[in-house]
Symmetry: C2
Subunit: 437 residues, 2 copies
């Protein structure tokens, strides 16, 4: 039963180095669990001179990744280089050669997951990607295996640590968005160009992968409604708090009764006592609602070299076990939950039904509340609560905040554009934030 698994590693940045460290430090434990030996046989990087890890012999490092993928010795290709290309072509080639694949590449999976999973299925090999979503949290495994007996109804996640850190600092330390972003950059939680994180683009990629696993659906990131957190202000934070909510950026996927999927990434008011409201700082969390199992929450570090490397190496162990116990023949792929991916209709964002928090910057004049309420009424958006705050002056507006009952997004946004045209009564663009729970 003792056999050697030969790994071809594509990419050796922080995650790749973390993988080498984990395999080295925990070698005996990992090999005990695997029932075999793991060897990093070859490493492909753009510039071989830059790999200076002491446990790596320079002889195994190359700049020819395709050569590694085609090496008949290699059992498992582990890809941590990121990006759509050349990673996509390399993994396609690996799967076609009958190699098992472990990858942390969320952009590639979000864009090409369907094609890659099909190739794995056809080739009878495994394609595992726990590290692609929510770093150290084993959410892919949970969706693939633990909830294999249940029908998933909805999932809601905090899947971008940068946005969550910024919103947490805004809530806890009363920072405005720009200050909190600067703090995130100084703390190393946000990149110099934070666009992908704060715009919701990164969360869109992750939600596409999660929805694929949860519903067996072909979901492309572009089908997901996306709103960033850059428009959230301290005023919104304080009003949310006053109504018993916290503002979080959520990725939401829901199977609607008519068979369509409701898919969105946006800032959201969540009740302050709820578990998601208490996931703070750079943590990630995913709440999964199964028809039978009810609601489960999984949270932990969503990024970082070591949590991500842990997920990659656990995938290697899993794929390795499948491989070792099947030394005698071709095996069915265990990559997916076993069903073929299907096309689902995606609910038009305008028809998504939600409760809304609305903020208006209004002149402090008699009749302004009636005007706002009137426009909402015309669109059949009914009001749950309404408050007005502050003393306005001729050039300083008051804040009017309304929480609505459930309403279609299109009606709400049409009301807002009518209201925003009520100049000089309305002194700045209105804001709408969805409410969950």
């Amino acid at each position: 039963m003792s056999r050697t698994l030969r790994i071809g590693l594509l990419g050796c940045g922080t995650v790749g180095t973390g993988i080498l460290r984990l395999l080295h430090d925990n070698a005996s434990m990992i090999e005990g669990r695997l029932g075999g030996h793991i060897e990093i046989t070859r490493i492909a990087v753009r510039d071989p001179k830059k790999v200076r890890d002491q446990v790596v012999s320079p002889r195994i490092v190359t700049d020819d990744a395709m050569n590694v993928v085609r090496d008949p010795q290699i059992d498992i290709v582990v890809e941590v280089m990121g990006g759509l290309e050349p990673a996509g072509s390399l993994l396609r080639a690996a799967l076609e050669q009958g190699k098992h694949v472990v990858t942390a590449n969320k952009a590639l999976l979000a864009e090409k997951g369907d094609e890659l999973l099909q190739k794995a299925e056809a080739g009878g090999v495994d394609l595992y990607f726990e590290a692609a979503v929510a770093g150290g949290i084993p959410i892919i495994r949970v969706l693939r295996e633990a909830l294999a007996s249940d029908r998933i109804v909805a999932l809601r996640g905090i899947v971008n640590g940068t946005s969550n850190y910024i919103l947490s600092r805004m809530a806890d330390d009363s920072l405005e968005f720009a200050e909190a972003l600067k703090a995130a950059q100084e703390a190393g939680y946000a990149e110099a160009d934070p666009t992908l994180d704060i715009s919701g683009g990164d969360a869109q990629h992750k939600l596409a992968i999660l929805a694929t696993m949860a519903f067996g659906a072909k979901v492309h990131p572009s089908e997901i409604l996306r709103e960033g957190i850059e428009t959230i202000t301290q005023i919104d934070m304080r009003f949310a708090e006053r109504f018993g909510y916290v503002i979080k950026s959520l990725a939401i996927a829901r199977a609607l009764p008519d068979g369509a999927l409701d898919l969105r990434v946006h800032p959201t008011l969540v009740p302050e006592g709820s578990v998601l409201a208490n996931v703070s700082g750079a943590l990630n969390a995913v709440e999964v609602e199964g028809a039978m199992v009810g609601s489960c929450l999984f949270s932990g570090l969503g990024a970082g070299a070591l949590p991500t490397a842990t997920s990659v190496v656990s995938d290697i162990v899993d794929v390795g076990r499948n491989l070792l116990i099947n030394a005698h023949g071709r095996v069915p792929s265990r990559s997916f939950r076993g069903e073929a991916l299907r096309d689902f209709p995606v609910r038009d964002p305008g028809e998504q039904i939600c409760r809304f928090y609305l903020h208006f910057s209004a002149a402090d004049e008699p009749g302004v509340l009636a005007k706002i309420a009137g426009v909402l009424g015309e669109q059949k958006v009914s009001i749950d609560q309404m408050v007005q705050e502050g003393q306005g002056t001729s050039d300083k507006p008051v804040s009017v905040v309304i929480l609505t009952h459930h309403a279609p997004a299109r009606a709400v946004y049409e009301a807002l554009s009518t209201i925003d045209a009520l100049k000089p009564l309305i002194m700045a663009p209105s804001r709408a934030i969805r409410i969950e729970g």
Copy 2:
């Protein structure tokens, strides 16, 4: 690749009925994921006349469980009868016959898990038991697979829904323990005899199983320090809140730097902003701390027929997949993380080091605080914070509450017994509750 897995079901109470319902309602989805057909071939119950499920033919129901276990047709024995015997003898026989086993029996696993896992290993069969701990939360799978690459440092869990419901009602609705227990019984969350839940005995069983999986340790429930929640009062709830804590009953297992395990089940003050503090009602949650992956939290419904049945059926799918892809030979058991279970020294409860909340019912007399502080000082227990509340009378004490710095439990309890002897200055037994985080 299409094969039939034949199940022998032992027990058909609420969980057993849930399993039948799940397999029936989700049949096509489950079989798609498995790549094979599942058949409930035989069901053993004490009284066959009581099984009236419409999907079950009376011909497959028997009262001879050993006969089911020995039936050569049966591939997987699923045990949901509970209790140590006859379940123990039946599962031993099943494993010896080369049957794979899925069980939800926490008492049996806590008492005999070591022996059963060894038998599974020796026979090359799987013994899966996701449903035995924390119902629908896939914590066993997480420990066995998702964190297979990491060394686990500690775990902290809310694993008894009844206790958590009672403590949540005490905190939220200012009920005293007896009232909250009554409410739990009326809501169906507590049994007529709630001793096993409120004493921490049930949590002891679950922690023994979790520690076995997390550390590869042979842990017997009797080695775990246990304190119940029945001594917690509204006064403690309010003081905890004042200091920024919530009282939860936690099951804690920690690998100490010297190689010993620290194992305990007790009411605990946890910081109010922490994720565990916000796990309320009948929910369960387990926080796992890995050396590399950091801290992860898993929460969900810990009990109930359908969440438990979901875990059992996901185990059946997993074991079934292992079985189907290995139709040609004996397979290594995947039940455990791959290491043999080891004996670990368990830290003596008196030497466990912790911060403590201490409550004293003291006469409202000058010098009483100094006396209490003096006794603690003699035991080298140092004080972090101290408050006194209320106006005492000759027969009504004031509450003196102290939060200590880290101190060995033995020193704290010795100080308490000295202080309790200070009559008439101390008017009721003092209470100590540990603080985590």
